[in-house]
Structure formats: C-alpha cells, structure tokens
Amino acid sequence: MVMVTKAPPRPAPVAHRALRLLLASGVTAVSLVAAPGTAAAEDDKSAAPKTLTVAVSQSIDSLSPFLAQKLTSTSIHRLAYEYLTNYDAKDARPIPGLATAWTPSPDKLTWTYTIREDSTWSDGKQATAEDAAWTFNKMMTDPNAATANGSFTANFAKVTAPDPRTLVIRLKKPQATMAALDVPIVPKHVWEKVGDFSKFNNDKQFPIVGNGPFVITDYKVDQYIKLKPNKTFWRGAPKFDELVFKYYKDGDAAVAALQKGEVSFVPNLTPAQADALKTQKNIKVNDAPGRRFYALATNPGAKAQDGKTFGNGHKALLDPAVRKALFLAVDRTALVDKVFQGHAVEGEGYIPPRFGSYFWKPADGQKRAYDPAGAQKVLDAAGYRKNAEGKRVGKDGKPLDFRILCHATDPNDKAVGKYLTEWWGKLGIGLKVECLDSVSDPWVKGDYDLAFDGWSVNPDPDYVLSIHTCGTLPATPKDTGATDNFICDKEFDGLYAQQAVEYDAAKRADLVKRMQSRLYDTGYMNVMAYPNALEAYRTDQIASITTMPEAAGNLWGQDGYWSWWSAAPTASAAGEKESSSSAGLWLVVGPAAVVLLGVGLWAARRRRSTADDRE
C-alpha cells in the first residue's frame, strides 16, 4: 500500500490522528484496526516513490496522436512523443527536439532536418528519420490519420528519409512554420500494424511505446492517466518517479484535493480560489500572463468563398459606426478588475503581450478607449436616433436588439454578458445573452450577431492569424471553413501571404504587427483582455518547476514539456500515509462497529423474542 503525492506527514501527528480516530470510534475494533494500519505505515517507509499528481478535468478524446485534439490529450502526447522541434522555455524560440538542426533550401521549398542519434523508443528500438517520414506520409495519404494535425501537412508535397539521420520535406509553397511542426512522431514499427486510424485510440496496450520524457503506463477513462519517467530520455530523465493526471470534474473538488495534498498541482483556478490559496501554507499560486486573448467578435455578414452569404447576423453590425459605438462603450479595465479580479491584462492588439516579439498595441489616435459619451455621439451622428422608450432605432425602423453567443460552460462569458447588457442598455441598444453548451452550430452557420471569442496563441502566430484570411472561409455555404468569424479583408490577406513566406524573424514580426493593426482598424473584433493563467501547486511536494516563459510563465498547457519534465520532488514528498491509514482505520472501524452493533441488537432481540414465545 504505497501512496502518492501526499504531503510530508511527520510521524507524530499521524500517530495522534490515528489515536484520535480510534478513540472516537470506540475501542471495540482496536484489534481489527491495528493490523492494516501499521502495515500501511511500514510500507511507506521502505519504498516511497515520489509521485507528481496533476488535477485535470477535460476528458481525453483519444490517446492516438492522429486523433487527439483536446488540450489534455495533446499535452500528454507532448510528454510521450518527441516532436521534430521544441520551444525554448525562456522565449519560446524553436529549439532541437527529435531534430537537431533544420535548414531550408534557397528556393524555400525543401527543408532538411537532421535527426538525433540518442533518441530511442521505450521498447529499445532506435528512433530514426524513417519514423518521422512514415508519420508524415501516413497523415498525407490517409485522411483518417490527418484528423488532428492535417493542417501541418496540407502543404507538403513529399516527405522522404534518405538515411536514418536525415528527413527531407518538400513543400508545395513556402511555409514559415516549418520549425514549429507540432506533430508527435510515432514509432513506425508499432503503428504500421494499425488498420483503421479513425477507430484506433491507442489505449489498449500499456505501456505505450514512445520516446518523450515520459511513458504512458496506464489509463482509466475519466479516472487517471499514469506516466513513468523515460530513464533513457536524451535530455535527461524526469525526477519524479511517477506522473499521474487525476480527474476532478468539479473545480472545487480539485482545489480541496490540493489543500489536502491529494494532488500536487491544479490548473485553471478562479480568482477567488487563487486568493484563498495564496494565504495557505505549502501552496504556491502561480499567476502568470496567459497565452489567450479574450474578445468580442461581430458577425461581418457570413460569406463563403463562392460569394454567397448566409446566416442571420444583424445588418446594423455591418455599419462600422455601430461596431465602433459598441466597442467604445466597453470598459475593459472594469472587466479586468471585476470579472477577472485583476488576474488579466487589458486587451489591446490581437496577440498577447507574453509573445513580446509579435505584441502590438494601437497608437493613440487609433485606439478605441472607453468613452460611453463618445459612443452616444457616434450613434447620433450615424443616424441611430432614440425612440420614445429610449431605444436606438435602426435604419429599418426597428429598435436595435443584438444577440451575443456565449459558452454556457465559461463563467467569464456569462459575467461579461451581464456588464455588456447594462453598458449597451445605456446606449439604448438591447442585448440578449444566448448561452449554449456547444456554440459551434450557430457559429458555423453564421447565425449570430456577436460572440465571445478566444484563442490560445502559439509561439508561432501563423495559425491564429490564418483564421481571419479569406482563404479559410468555407468554399460554399455547405462546407466548413477554418475561419474564426468570417472576416475577409484583402489588405490583411496580402500581409498574411507576405509573412507566411518571410523567413527573416524581424521582418516577419513587423508584418505580423501590421496585420494586427489592420485587423484592429477593420473593427470586427474587440480584444477585451488577456486572462492570466491561474494555477497552484504544493511546495512541500514540488521543490522546483520550470515555467514557460521561465520568467513569469505558466505551467499547465505549455508549448513544451518543461513543467513536468523539470519538476523536482522535495525530500519529504513521500507517500500518502495520512489519508491511507485513516482510510484503513475508518473503513475497518466503521463496518466493524456496525457489525458489532448489529450482532448485539440481534442477540438482544433474539432473547426477547424467545421470551415472547415462552409467554
């Protein structure tokens, strides 16, 4: 009975607690209890594997790297498989992963990667360029294998491995993200036996063969995923003896578990939880600048590439004056103060300040600062007069009433919705907050006026920029596109095309900033805040851990595997003595007492009933 992650229980209090419990539960069961209780305690002393337990809530969609898209799944794949490149913990610059070096050809169309020699699969076989080539080719040829990461290989013409140390990728057109291919490389000798990639979830045989810092050893749906360190990992083996992702579907239960020491780390805290945990002993709250932006998006009139429009977005939102007035009436500092309780940074440009080289903010003349009076003037000037009830009337003579699409599962959406309703109400504009579990259906159909929008930005901003280009609109209204909210702007597209083929980092950064400026000016989106990552861990279990970026960074959902790979246990981070012994106690004492009581009662009644019969 050897336990995890439990706080350093000094022997004395444990004994005391045991004693207390015993006394409390009556002395009847002493003999029953003594055996399991002490046995557990002894086991703990002999072997005390150090386990790092992470609380998670999101279910795994699949353990197959070809299918997995959810954050929990992809984070675990980052731990179990090497990717060609990784991101530096300091500044997220691409650094060697499975590849030690990479160079483009002069025509920018051929990339050559050198594969490292010191990476072996956990079954002992050498990881080679052949594995990488097979992985990419599989994704290019089998649509079922392209489910999760197909966007990376869509522009690949040909992938070959001329020798075990060399991987050559030929592109159809230049692609700036070639050092940021977030594709787990799988062992060919294992995966070539898989038949149907759409159905294979990689969760039947453990341990799962991989070459990352950890090896997945066990998985129970919505209960836990266990990983053991890969002792032969080329960068050095992780320091904990085991890494467990444990499920807590309820956020409060996860925090309670952290307070008890059942888990070592909890992500996604609410401001109230973070503030309460800050004052507690042995718990460190990490309040780091986030990688997400949180925005308002307006429906610019959903359109397909064939020019057909669809959806039922409000026509008044096509008027830049209306959008401007709406955005001017949004007090972003109040939102940061009230909704995020200060655990966020006021939104400005598109990419969060955390990505310093790409961060852009509007110039003074360009900026839409909070100005409710100005918003009224803009509407007055644009001819939206107030009617008798004080409501603004649109060009069609009807009062302006908008809907906003909100994620029912996101408390921030609902909270911000309350503020928007009141702010815009003062402008004379009605707002209906429509919260849905799954917003994708009205969203892809264009059946919304406004929506809460937000993306996690990768160190390479290509993807979050691409979703605002005309090319990602659905081909026809019947298709689905990668587009975020149907924005299509020729100037933005031109800049996007330039940055996509720009291999000079500084020049590309400049182009990216110009794109953000253009996006800001089109006025379809209002970035309200960059929420912080709020997370907490136990300092009596984790002695040190690397955040990303190293200075003021986050731990959960990093781009690399730094947090869990680097985490070092404290000297005392041993087993879960306290709770397991109390478990033993309670579970033996309780039933034992009940049984004794029952037997006693039964005997007593028995005696009485025989007495009855004699009567």
Binding site: M1, M3, V4, P36, A40, T51, S59, D61, S62, L67, P143, G150, S151, S198, K199, N201, K220, V221, D222, Y224, K226, V244, K246, Y247, Y248, K249, D250, D252, A253, A254, A256, A257, Q259, K260, E262, T409, D437, S438, S440, D441, W443, V444, K445, I467, T472, A475, K478, D479, T480, G481, A482, D484, S579, S580, A583, W586, L587, V588, D612, E615
Partner: protein, 353 residues
C-alpha cells in the same frame, strides 16, 4: 432527491398499484397471465423508449458533423464522407430501422467524440454507477424501513415527529448542495473536523490490490453514498410508515393482540410483513430512478459513472452516446418496474398462488 416525485406521491402510486396491478385470481395460471401481461407491457415500453430516444435527439439543434469539424477546414465532400461514416446521410426512416436493428443486437453505435463503440463506453462506466447506487439504495432502504417501522409504531409521538421531520428536511435539500457541504466539512476539513475522506473519484489510483483496493474504493464511496442516502431515505421511510399505519387499522392485529401477543411481536410477525409490500416494490422502482438521479452526485464527487458521461455527451452533442445512455437509463427504470410488478403478487400473502 430530484426525481420528480415527492415521497407522498410515491406512497400513493404504490397504493394505486396495490389495488390495481395484482392478479385477483388465486391460481398460478393467473400469475402467469399477469406476468406475461407485464412482460409484454415492458417490451412495448422499451420499444417506445427506442423510438423516443431516436426522435428526441434528432430535435437537438446542431449538425453533429459540423460541430465536430468546427475550426477544421472541411470540404463538402469530407463532410459527406463523415455523414456517410455515421450513417447520417440516409433518409430518416432508414436511419431509424438501422438504429433499431442494431440496438436490438446490442450495438448502440459509435460515439462521435470518443470514436469508440457506445456500448463499450457505457459498459466501462456502468460498474461505477451500479456500485454507487447499489450501495446507496441498500443502505437507505434498510434505514428507511427501520425508521419507518419505528415511526409508525409510535406515530404521533415526539420520536415520530422528529423522525419524519428530519427525513422530510433532508429530502428537501438539493443533493448537489449537500454533497458540496460534505466535501467542505469532511473532505477538506473544517475547524476541529479533520479531512477524513477523499474529495472525489473512485480510487486513489496508487496501485492497491486485493483487500487494500476494496478499502480504498469503500473510502471513496462514503461521502457520495451518505449524500444519496440522506436525500433519499425519506421516500422509503414515509411509504413504510404510511403502509404500516394502514395495516395497523386491520382487524387481524386486534385479533393477534387479543391472543395475548406482545406489541412488538404483533408488529414483527403480522403488520411489518404486510406493510413491506409496497415499500419493497418502491425500492425497486427507486433503483431505476437513482441511476439517473445520481448524475448530480457523480458530478460533484467526480465519480466515474454514467451520469458524468451523459452530461459530457450532451454538450457536443454526441448523439449516439446520448441515445445509448438514455436507453440505458430508461431501460433500467422499465426493468425495475417489471421486477416490482412480478414480485408483487409473489410477496403478497393475501394473493394466493
């Protein structure tokens, strides 16, 4: 408990059954006819559930295929392929016949989000729900029977008033709220109370085996079971109490007393067995209800059962999974009702066989 029936409701429904459902002929042929009738009714109900689950979930707004591919560039052809894979391209009636044929052979389709057979997903989570609800129902039935008997025997007294009062109060408490309070007090620890129980889950996942594993699971069971028992035992108590009160008006009890039997002997040998009838059938019906009702408790205690799976499936919407779970939940109700119907005449001493 948030099943939509008050304790009193159930009490009356049970009485209705007592006068309604049991065969009046005193022969085994009569029983067989009764059983066959109930069995037929259950099959019709089951078929009706299949039909509803199919059509009910077609009205959920949202094209599942588009929802699945949100944010992923997908051409019309790819969407069509996906639709074909999931059988969504066929006309509705054909989807329906396929669905029924497959459901009858035990195949509930493939989950959209987990890409695994629905039957497997349900089978994986079923034991956890069965364990939780089974333990809870056994305990609260026993508790309800015992307290209900005591209450009825001394009805009108202080003990009875306290007893029913407490049961009704606990019944009025939202189960999820009680669960959260229990976590705060007994799991995190509050004031002098140490954090005795785990905050959630079904096992520590630390590789215990054998007896240690049983202990570990039992340890995790305590709080969710306490929650279910607290909000649920009022029903058993009240039904037992009211049917015992009815029995106590019976002439045969007076006769028994006249024979010189002591009160508790009268109670034990004559009144209680008769009063048990409606209560026992209600317990079976409750078993069916509790499975669905534990959705909340499972969420609060991160219990890896069907309730959590159901909620997760709804948000996609993962039609095959939601359908499958709905059929399982409703099927459990039908099965338990059937068992109650079949048991009733067997248990009732007044109905000869």
């Amino acid at each position: 408990m948030t099943t939509a029936s008050t304790p009193a409701d159930v009490a009356r429904a049970e009485k209705a059954r007592a006068t309604d459902g049991a065969p009046r002929t005193g022969s085994s042929l009569g029983y067989l006819r009764h059983a066959a009738g109930k069995l037929g009714g259950a099959l019709v109900s089951l078929f009706a559930v299949l039909v509803t689950s199919f059509f009910l979930f077609r009205i959920i707004p949202g094209d599942p295929v588009k929802a699945m591919t949100h944010g992923v560039p997908t051409s019309a052809e790819q969407l069509a392929t996906l639709r074909r894979q999931f059988g969504l391209d066929l006309p509705l009636w054909q989807q329906f016949t396929d669905y029924c044929a497959k459901a009858l052979s035990g195949d509930l389709g493939t989950s959209f989000q987990f890409r695994a057979p629905v039957g497997d997903l349900i089978a994986e989570k079923l034991p956890a729900t069965l364990l939780l609800t089974g333990v809870a129902v056994v305990i609260y039935s026993a508790l309800g029977l015992w307290l209900g008997t005591r209450s009825a025997w001394r009805h009108g007294g202080l003990g009875d008033k306290l007893n029913t009062g407490l049961a009704l109060t606990l019944w009025s408490v939202p189960s999820f709220w009680l669960g959260l309070l229990l976590i705060i007090v007994f799991s995190v620890g509050m004031g002098p109370v140490p954090g005795l129980f785990p905050t959630g889950g079904m096992e520590s996942g630390t590789g215990e085996t054998g007896f240690a594993y049983v202990l570990d699971v039992a340890h995790h069971l305590v709080l969710p079971v306490v929650t279910l028992v607290a909000v649920g035992y009022a029903q058993t108590l009240l039904v037992m109490r009211s049917s015992l009160l009815d029995e106590m008006g019976g002439d045969y009890l007076t006769t028994a007393r006249a024979k010189g039997l002591r009160d508790d002997a009268v109670r034990r040998r004559h009144a209680v067995p008769n009063a048990l009838l409606p209560t026992v059938t209600m317990i079976f019906i409750n078993l069916g209800h509790v499975a669905a009702g534990s959705i909340l408790v499972e969420t609060v205690f991160s219990w890896p059962g069907l309730g959590g799976l159901f909620y997760q499936a709804l948000s996609v919407p993962d039609l095959p999974l939601v359908q499958g779970l709905f059929v399982v939940f409703a099927g459990a109700m039908i099965l338990m009702n059937l068992i109650a119907d079949l048991l009733y005449p067997l248990l009732d001493p007044r109905v000869g066989r």
